[in-house]
């Protein structure tokens, strides 16, 4: 029993010390005196310290003294204390995460799509390229030819060329590319040409585009009825067996075609 009371003192001391409680400057001295009074020598006192420390170590105390109501109450205190600390940590962590997510969101909207003119431009281009409203072609060819400057005569026999590029300023490179494209399309759909030479023409035609994934919008009766990549569409033009008419082109700053609209009748 006497050892038990010493252990209790040691336990209180250690717990208070570990939890950062109020300083107990004379606690060790009191424990030492109490131990001497109860006839416990220094060696045994050290052992008691060790025992109590082990009991307080997480994972061990629970299994060791579950039957002791005193020890149990100490463990509960400890658990409560740790639980409180964990809860505090969780709150801090959640707050930090929320703060960072908010900052990231603000950063994204500000730098990613908000005030960044490049990003804005990209979004606008994307939306124009993604969905051509079905009524998009309200401007008919007749309207185009009435409003846009006459396209230079490119080659005889080429299907009606609507070189309307009102959405982009037409650079000399773009004009040259447009002219070449008309000729390439004409040759690609010419079934009398050998396939090998049409393949070569296709490879040359692709170079007029910004990339192989540039979109080709297919129109029928002034309504968009299909969409393909230029890489696929040039294959289709070669093999589907009928001619197409170029309706519209969009260029990038390098004069490369970024989007092509064609009419299939």
């Amino acid at each position: 029993m006497s050892e038990q009371s010493i252990k209790e003192l040691i336990r209180n001391f250690l717990i208070n010390n570990a939890e950062g409680g109020r300083a107990m400057p004379f606690a060790e001295l009191i424990i030492k005196q109490e131990a001497e009074r109860q006839g416990i020598d220094q060696h045994r006192l050290k052992e008691l310290y060790t025992e109590v420390s082990r009991e307080l170590t997480p994972g061990k105390a629970t299994s060791k003294k579950t039957s002791d109501p005193l020890v149990k109450s100490e463990e509960e205190r400890k658990k409560e204390s740790l639980g409180y600390k964990l809860t505090s940590r969780k709150v801090i962590m959640v707050a930090a995460v929320v703060l960072l997510v908010v900052l990231a969101g603000v950063g994204y909207f500000y730098f990613g799509a908000g005030n960044n003119p490049l990003a804005q431009d990209r979004v606008e281009n994307d939306s124009s390229a993604t969905e051509q409203p079905l009524e998009d072609t309200s401007q008919t060819d007749t309207v185009h030819s009435a409003t846009s400057p006459a396209a230079p005569a490119l080659s005889a026999g080429i299907a009606a060329v609507d070189n309307n590029t009102n959405t982009n300023p037409v650079s000399p490179q773009a004009t040259a590319n447009a002219a070449s494209l008309e000729q390439y399309m004409e040759k690609l759909s010419d079934a009398s040409l050998p396939y090998a030479s049409r393949e070569e023409i296709k490879q040359q035609a692709v170079t007029l585009f910004a990339n192989k994934n540039a979109n080709v919008l297919i129109f029928t009766n002034n309504h968009q009825t299909g969409r393909e990549t230029v890489d696929d569409y040039l294959d289709i033009v070669q093999l589907q067996g009928f001619k197409i008419t170029i309706k519209d082109k969009k260029f990038n700053n390098d004069g490369k075609i970024t989007q092509l609209s064609v009419i299939e009748q």
Binding site: F13, L14, A18, E28, K46, Y49, S53, T57, P58, R89, I92, M93, A96, L100, V101, L103, A104, G105, G107, Y108, F111, G112, A113, A119, V123, D126, S127, A129, T130, E131, Q132, P133, L134, Y195, N211, K212, N213, A214, N215, I218, F219, T220, N221, N222, H223, T225, G226, R227, E228, T229, D231, D232, D235, I236, L239, Q240, G241, F242, E264, Q265
Partner: protein, 222 residues
């Protein structure tokens, strides 16, 4: 000894702090990833959709014409595929392009013969592959009188369905140019007009598109 115990608890505190910092680091990295310029695909995916649930008569007319054009294109691909003097590369490419006209490569196709009046069901892929190995030196397959037998009607699933009829003239020749087999078959091709989400290159779009479905034999005459 008390210090020893405190240091043990301190180490668990340290572990907690380290875990917290790792978590914060991860969140920061995630945030940096979010702040990177969005891939074009994402931007496109968020753009507006075609708003009308119902297509206008003019739009339906446009898609009717598009379906007829696709049917004519299919006939042209079939001609190329069945042409044994054509290069393998162009025949294979024609198969690939022909398959793209259909909802998928498992759409059923009925094939018939005037010799035994049997009708067999195969997939469109099998049908197109079979065209490459027909038992004739030369084959002429011509479709004519491509017309609608049923106009587009909206189904309960929101898609529009129509049926196109075609007449197919089939001629098989020997190496000497002798006509070995001929028949004329009336076929019906089901057409579906659906608003599909597709990836075209780097672009993901949701647009109306008209595709071919099964082909069935109505009648075969020699």
């Amino acid at each position: 000894m008390g210090r020893l115990h405190s240091s043990q608890l301190l180490s668990s505190k340290t572990k907690g702090l380290v875990a917290l910092w790792i978590l914060l680091l991860c969140v920061c990295m995630e945030a940096m990833a979010v702040c990177e310029p969005p891939v074009e695909v994402c931007a496109f995916a968020e753009t507006e959709e075609l708003t009308a649930d119902d297509l206008s008569p003019e739009q339906l007319e446009a898609f009717k014409a598009a379906a007829q054009r696709k049917t004519a294109a299919l006939n042209n691909y079939i001609k190329i595929i069945s042409n044994k003097s054509e290069k393998e590369a162009i025949r294979s490419k024609s198969i690939a392009l022909a398959l793209r006209l259909f909802v998928d490569d498992k759409q059923p196709v009925q094939v018939s013969s005037a010799l035994n009046e049997s009708v067999k069901n195969i997939t469109i892929r099998q049908y197109l592959n079979n065209l490459k190995v027909l038992p004739y030196r030369r084959v002429d397959i011509r479709w004519f009188d491509i017309a609608y037998v049923r106009e587009f009607k909206k189904g309960r699933d929101g898609k529009y369905y129509a049926v196109i009829t075609i007449f197919q003239e089939y001629k098989g020749f020997s190496a000497e140019g002798q006509l070995l087999y001929t028949d004329i078959t009336q076929k019906e091709i089901e057409v579906v007009l659906d608003r599909l989400t597709r990836r075209i290159g780097d672009t993901e779009v949701k647009e109306w598109d008209v595709l071919l479905r099964g082909i069935r034999v109505v009648e075969t005459k020699s």
